[in-house]
């Protein structure tokens, strides 16, 4: 049986000539050496009848053999507060937090800890599956004393928990109180204990929230026994506070009478858009979050009166920690490339090979960042066409685990085929999840990162989706011998429309689904300033995402009130912590895909693709250039995904949703199977007739319309479109039609 044994990632996704990019690789035991080369990717789909894999070696200093090694990944989220004066001289102690445990029965999990285990000094507060709240105190002699409350916690309920230790009399008190009110609640309670001898609660170890630690790696404590769930307002005090005093510390500022007793009180309702946690005590013992726990989530006091954390930050002063979240693998670099100054823009990869093992760490060489600014020929790139690589969507789908965990059999209407790549990903939960997965505690994944191996974002991945499907477009452009630059979502997010305006025509890939506000603005401005846009896929411009300037490679998304989605955000958590923007469908933010590109997501199915039929609009003189030398009525009854150009996810035109009034629908698909079902956001009442055979709305539209200042938009309406380009050695009506459009879109003659 084939096994995958090698994977890697790069620190950048798009680099300009002259810039540096580092590559990190991990090999399973037994892969002692591997060959690395930089290649330009030409083609990827190696299924029978497909174009096969092809690349072109870029001679660089990278080419050579490298030693294979296993690189460790430390995942799971927690906070670290360095040891400091705030915690000096501790003898007595109070600890408190409001907690919302999501997996209290899984294993022991740490709420807050500051422990030097070897010395037997420090403290830690835990949840325990059988005993509920547990306090550990060092005995000062290499041992730890433990005190347990004895009542298991109920999952997904808010509790106020606290523990005190009085060094004067050795008394320990533990309390856990359910904040909601249920009859027959047995989970609330308290316990008192007498410490057998003096405890040693002070130590020089860092303080962790939501984790304990025994070791350091890569310059920070490694979090273990991570708490799954929400923590709000953790407090550490240097005196055994009374219950009434502790109650005053749940919200708001630290009362003046307690200021001298408080070591730290962290208000998670500040600095949402950062990794910082802010101590509101005079000590200012601020800390840092590791591995992207979820911020801007409801706290214990959320009332529903405000739906945005920016309007009521005090009701969102909780952080949701997760034992399987990940920002950056932080592996050591295996090799580095300084992109040669004369490297043409394109889609490249670090190709890794060892025996039957292969991996492609894919990246883009973009055009130079700075033009000469003179507005002359030097300000025009060599190519008039830019291919826009949807890196945001790659990140959203990266490491999708559903295929291996459920088989997705009802989606595909076929038996699942599990590839070696899928088994490898399942063997590596530490590589983190896609935005289509749940975390271990059932919480939907709302952050992604590219600073980790994204196993399915590979040019040859057998699941033809995103990059592997987009290789059909790259292969076609290469075969057409059309010069093109390659740019990415991240480039467009940073540079705005000025990057697009270097080109006559911008072509998307097959499924550009995720868009930040600057990305949307750039594409819209391009279409309004005479640019020509070829939208070569389906279900594009659909979900809104956010980036953070100080967190390169990370992305946020919330799956809000509707949309075709694998999980749903909690009520009141529709606003993105990174930017404060309302998340979810762009439609719900007043910007429909139909208004941008003429069509928008209407249906999906994954068994058989179908074909398009020309419409009366296709005979309009304005559309004549599209159908030049095409006599066929049926377009695209072939293709490498489901045997048709109309397949997977379909977009249709709709005046009601904003398709420009003058748009031409030049072809429409038909005869979709019942596995194609209309998207839920377009359904009011549920009816029997939502499948492709019954519902006329289940179809894709090919749309063309002119935009101001001589521009134009062409939209294929289907993810499957590009899979038909290769058919019959590119001699087919999908290829010809696409070429007709591209030729006209590269022609500077303005559209009327």
């Amino acid at each position: 049986m084939l096994e995958k044994k090698i994977a890697g990632y790069s620190d950048e996704i798009s680099v300009a000539p002259g810039e540096r990019i580092r590559f990190m690789v991990s090999c399973e035991p037994g892969v002692d050496r591997y060959q690395a080369d930089i290649v330009r990717l030409i083609s990827g789909d190696h299924q029978p009848g497909g174009p096969g894999y092809r690349d072109e070696l870029l001679p660089t200093s990278v080419s050579g053999e490298y030693p294979g090694r296993v690189q460790e990944t430390y995942y799971g989220s927690y906070a670290v507060v360095p040891h400091g004066p705030a915690f000096d001289g501790l003898s007595s102690l109070s600890l408190q937090a409001s907690i919302f445990p999501t997996l209290p029965g899984l294993r022991r999990a740490c709420i807050i800890s500051k422990m030097d285990i070897d010395a037997g000094r420090g403290f830690a507060l835990w949840t325990d599956p059988a005993h509920g709240l547990v306090l550990q105190l060092g005995d000062g002699d290499g041992g730890i004393r433990e005190f347990a409350l004895g009542r298991p916690l109920v999952a997904r309920e808010w509790y106020l928990v606290n523990a005190t230790y009085d060094a004067a009399n050795g008394e320990v008190h533990l309390r856990q109180r359910l904040l909601d009110s249920y009859a027959r609640d047995t989970s609330s309670g308290e316990s008192s204990h007498s410490s057998d001898g003096t405890a040693a609660v002070g130590c020089g170890a860092p303080l962790l929230i939501a984790a304990a630690s025994r070791e350091e790696a890569r310059g920070k404590p490694v979090g273990e026994m991570i708490f799954n769930g929400r923590i709000e307002r953790p407090v550490v005090a240097s005196r055994a506070l009374e219950p009434g005093e502790l109650e005053t510390l749940r919200y708001g500022p630290v009362p003046p009478s307690l200021r001298s007793d408080i070591c730290a009180a962290w208000d998670f309702g500040q600095a949402f858009e950062t990794d910082d946690i802010i101590d509101i005590s005079p000590n200012r013992a601020n800390g840092r979050l590791i591995n992207l726990p979820i911020r801007a989530v409801r706290g214990s006091n959320w009332s529903g009166s405000e739906l945005s954390f920016t309007h009521a930050p005090d009701q969102y002063a909780a952080i949701h920690f997760l034992d399987d979240s990940l920002y950056d693998c932080e592996w050591d670099a295996d090799f580095e490339l300084e992109v040669p100054a004369d490297t043409p823009s394109g889609l490249y990869a670090a190709r890794l090979r060892s025996g039957d093992q292969e991996d492609h760490i894919t990246f883009v060489v973009r055009p130079p960042r700075e033009l000469n600014g003179r507005g002359d020929a030097g300000d025009r790139p060599g190519a008039s066409l830019a291919l826009l690589i949807p890196t945001a969507s790659y990140m959203a789908y990266g490491n999708a685990r559903g295929g291996m965990e459920t088989g997705n059999e009802l989606l595909s209407n076929h038996l699942a085929v599990i590839s070696p790549e899928m088994r490898y990903l399942n063997d590596h939960p530490e590589y983190g999840n896609s935005m289509y997965d749940d975390h271990n505690d059932g919480t939907g994944v709302c952050y992604s990162s590219r600073l980790r191996p994204l196993i399915n974002i590979r040019p040859t991945h057998p699941w033809l989706w995103q990059l592997s499907a987009d290789m059909h477009i790259v292969e076609w452009l290469e075969a057409q011998e059309i010069a093109f630059d390659v740019i990415t979502d991240e480039d467009m997010h940073q540079d705005g429309v000025s990057l697009l305006e270097r080109y006559s025509c911008v072509m998307t890939c097959s499924h550009p689904e995720y868009y930040s506000t600057p990305m949307w603005d750039a594409v819209h401005a391009f279409t309004q300033r005479g640019g020509r846009l070829m939208y070569m896929g389906g279900n594009g411009f659909y979900w809104r995402v956010a980036y953070r300037d100080d967190k390169p490679g990370a992305m946020e998304m919330r799956r809000t009130e509707d949309g075709s989605r694998s999980w749903a955000s909690e009520p009141g958590e529709y606003y993105m912590a990174f930017t404060g923007e309302y998340g979810g469908l762009w439609w719900r933010a007043g910007r429909t895909p139909q208004s941008l590109v003429g069509n928008g997501f209407i249906a999906q199915g994954f068994d058989h693709s179908s074909y398009f039929r020309r419409t009366a609009d296709s005979h309009d003189p304005r559309a004549a250039f599209i159908f030049a030398d095409i006599d066929d009525e049926i377009i695209g009854d072939f293709g490498l995904i489901g045997n048709g150009a109309a397949g997977l996810e379909l977009d249709s035109a709709s005046r009601a949703y904003g398709t420009p009034p003058h748009a031409l629908v030049v072809a429409t698909s038909e005869q979709h199977t019942d596995a194609y079902i209309r998207v839920n956001e377009d359904i009011g009442h549920m009816l029997l007739s939502i499948g492709g055979q019954d519902d006329p709305q289940v179809h894709a539209d090919v749309v063309f319309f002119e935009t101001p200042r001589g521009g134009a938009v062409f939209s294929t309406g289907s993810i499957g479109w590009s899979s038909a380009l290769f058919h019959n050695d590119h001699d087919n009506n999908v290829s010809r039609l696409t070429r007709n459009v591209l030729d006209r879109f590269l022609d500077p003659t303005p559209f009327d």
Partner: protein
């Protein structure tokens, strides 16, 4: 809870339709049966596992748990996806109806 749609074991005409065209599209009546068969718990669900890409597949059952590998059923190897679909259809027919699928 799994789908409750009953499969009538006397409808061997639908089984024959599946055997003749296992990849579909299927008639509406057959699709109801196929949907019933595909709507199983993830743990134990039959899947194909690639032995040789695009050439040879083994039958396996999912663990349904992240980090836990599937279980390969070593005696079941296929050189076409169609044959694999037919084999699993037979197994599920018997599992759901309680009687083996007999087609002369």
């Amino acid at each position: 809870m799994p789908s409750q749609y009953p499969i009538d074991p006397s409808r061997t005409d639908l089984a024959r339709e599946f055997m003749a065209n296992p990849m579909g599209p299927h008639s509406a009546a057959l699709q109801r049966i196929v949907t019933r068969m595909r709507d199983t718990e993830a743990a134990g669900r039959y899947v194909l596992v690639t032995r040789v890409p695009y050439q040879e597949w083994g039958l396996a059952q999912l663990s349904g748990q992240r980090g836990v590998d599937l279980t390969v059923l070593e005696d079941q190897v296929f050189t076409s996806i169609e044959d694999a679909e037919r084999a699993v259809f037979r197994m599920r027919w018997e599992l759901i109806t309680g009687s083996p699928l007999v087609l002369d």
